[in-house]
């Protein structure tokens, strides 16, 4: 059976692609500081394979009874899949996505050429 993905119609507020930010090197520890109140979403073009999408909100969540298949709905962007290379990583990413949805906190995430979120900050 082909891997499922969430239906676009279930996600409100999608209007085109979001901003892309700085290219980021894969890091084993967080480097960003909390955003100031004045900071908003950022735009810009990163390296082809890597983009940082900053200043977003998570407005929906989706999961299914398939191995490592969890997505978040990003306001102004649409559904984005969470990296599926590791059980503990996708559960942690899902927890952070859920936290962002509940708190409506600001999210900055790194999306790779596979269109999945590989790193995320939730403030």
């Amino acid at each position: 059976m082909a891997e499922a993905k969430p239906e676009q119609g279930m996600l409100a507020g999608v209007s085109g692609s979001g901003g892309a930010g700085l290219a980021g090197a894969a890091a084993a520890a967080p480097t960003a500081e909390p955003p100031s109140a004045a900071e908003g979403g950022t735009t810009g073009v990163g390296a082809a394979a890597t983009v940082w999408v900053n200043g977003k909100k998570i407005n929906a969540l989706w999961a299914i009874n398939q191995n490592r298949n969890s997505w978040v709905g990003v306001a102004g962007v649409g559904w984005v899949k969470l990296a599926n290379n590791s059980d503990s990583a996708i559960v942690a990413l899902t927890m952070l996505g859920a936290n962002a949805k509940i708190t409506q906190g600001t999210v900055n995430y790194r999306q790779e050429s596979d269109n999945m979120i590989h790193e995320i900050y939730v403030w």
């Binding site: 084993a28 059980d87 990583a89 942690a92 927890m95 906190g105 590989h118 939730v122």
Partner: protein, 363 residues
């Protein structure tokens, strides 16, 4: 009170040398010669440059040091950064050659305050533990002194508890740490030497103070104020201190000494670039890892990545802390509770083991 140092004559020599410091009778210059020298406990070993090499290396590039500030501010002083003082109080090593322990500990204490972004952080680590417990394995003692590599390694590999666990007294003694010293120990994540004056300034202005060592000549005991340069007297020995700032305009480093607050400029002194081997090499503390409770803080950020069991929480006033990775359920339990605290805006009490979150209460 010994009168073997003629301060009046020394000030005449300072003026004749066109130097800009003032000599006076001080708490150290007033001591008998052997007691003065007992405070000089830096004896380089284990591949560290000799005192002579340090003097030659520094002197040979003194002019370049003044100019080597590309990318760094022209002046910096951790005693006053935006009105905040990140330097812990001046201590007095007394009549024991334990300056290596004091210079190293002062550097770690400031690194701790800076890492926390909290100039008021109550941090007072045990110089006695470093010198009398870690030191003996590499022959540290009050008479013969010590050297920097095992002192920095002691902070990295063993960890040093708080002052109350083993208060310092200035005589040779056995290790007398408290029974639970390991639970109270502070470690550093790493250290390295810096050999370039430009890199020293960059480190100081962006990361924190550095430890350094230099040759003490007899006129140094009488330093009262100004920018020290050697003008008179022979070599007395090696000494280690903490460099808390610098000034390119004045051409000097600002150093925290360990001869009490009554010596020098309230325990500090300024020394000219290139002088006495002060800037041949300096020692940098890369970070402080912590063990113990952090009470009543808040989770204001979370971070995760596509790596096994790698998630961090940002604690208000503290910074990023990694979540324990012992196994999946430990990792997820802690992460979920941290997320719940963030969702509810609830305070948390967090226990860190070497800087890793291993237990928490959500209140």
């Amino acid at each position: 009170m010994p009168q073997d140092i003629d301060v009046s004559q020394l000030n005449t020599l300072i003026k004749a040398a066109n130097a800009s410091w003032v000599a006076a009778s001080t708490s150290v210059s007033d001591l008998p010669p052997d007691e003065r020298r007992s405070r000089l406990g830096y004896v380089p070993r284990g591949g560290e440059e000799s005192l002579e090499q340090r003097v030659a290396n520094s002197a040979g590039r003194a002019a370049a040091t003044r100019a080597a500030a590309i990318g760094a501010p022209a002046a910096y002083d951790w005693r006053n950064v935006g009105g905040s003082n990140y330097v812990t109080p001046v201590r007095d090593q007394g009549g024991c050659g334990s300056c290596v322990s004091f210079g190293t500990t002062a550097t770690v204490e400031s690194a701790f305050r800076i890492q926390r972004g909290n100039p008021g952080l109550a941090v007072d680590l045990s110089e006695a533990s470093l010198f009398f417990c870690v030191g003996p394995a590499t022959s540290a003692n009050c008479t013969d002194g010590w050297y920097m590599t095992p002192a920095m390694d002691g902070y990295k590999n063993t960890g040093i508890p708080d002052e109350a666990c083993f208060p310092y007294t200035d005589h040779q003694q056995a290790c007398g740490q408290c029974a639970d010293w390991q639970n109270r120990a502070t470690k550093i994540s790493g250290w390295h030497t810096i050999g370039s004056p430009a890199d020293m300034k960059t480190w100081i202005s962006t990361r924190g103070p550095l430890a350094t060592c230099f040759t003490v000549y007899s006129d140094f005991y009488s330093y009262r104020s100004g920018v020290y340069r050697h003008v008179s007297g022979g070599v007395e020995g090696g000494h280690c201190v903490c460099v808390v700032g610098y000034s390119d305009a004045g051409g000097f480093w600002i150093c925290k000494n360990s001869w009490g607050a009554g010596w020098g400029e309230s325990g500090f002194f300024c020394i000219a670039y290139g002088e006495c081997g002060i800037d041949s090499t300096m020692w940098a503390v890369e970070g402080v890892v912590e063990t113990g409770w952090l009470n009543n803080t808040h989770v204001i950020g979370l971070w995760a990545i596509d790596q096994d069991r790698n998630a961090w929480a940002y604690l208000a006033g503290i910074g990023w802390r990694k979540i324990a990775t012992d196994n999946d359920n430990i990792f997820f339990d802690l992460l979920r509770l941290l997320a719940a605290a963030k969702e509810g805006g609830r305070p948390v009490n967090v226990y860190q083991t070497n800087g890793i979150i291993t237990q928490l209460y959500v209140l």
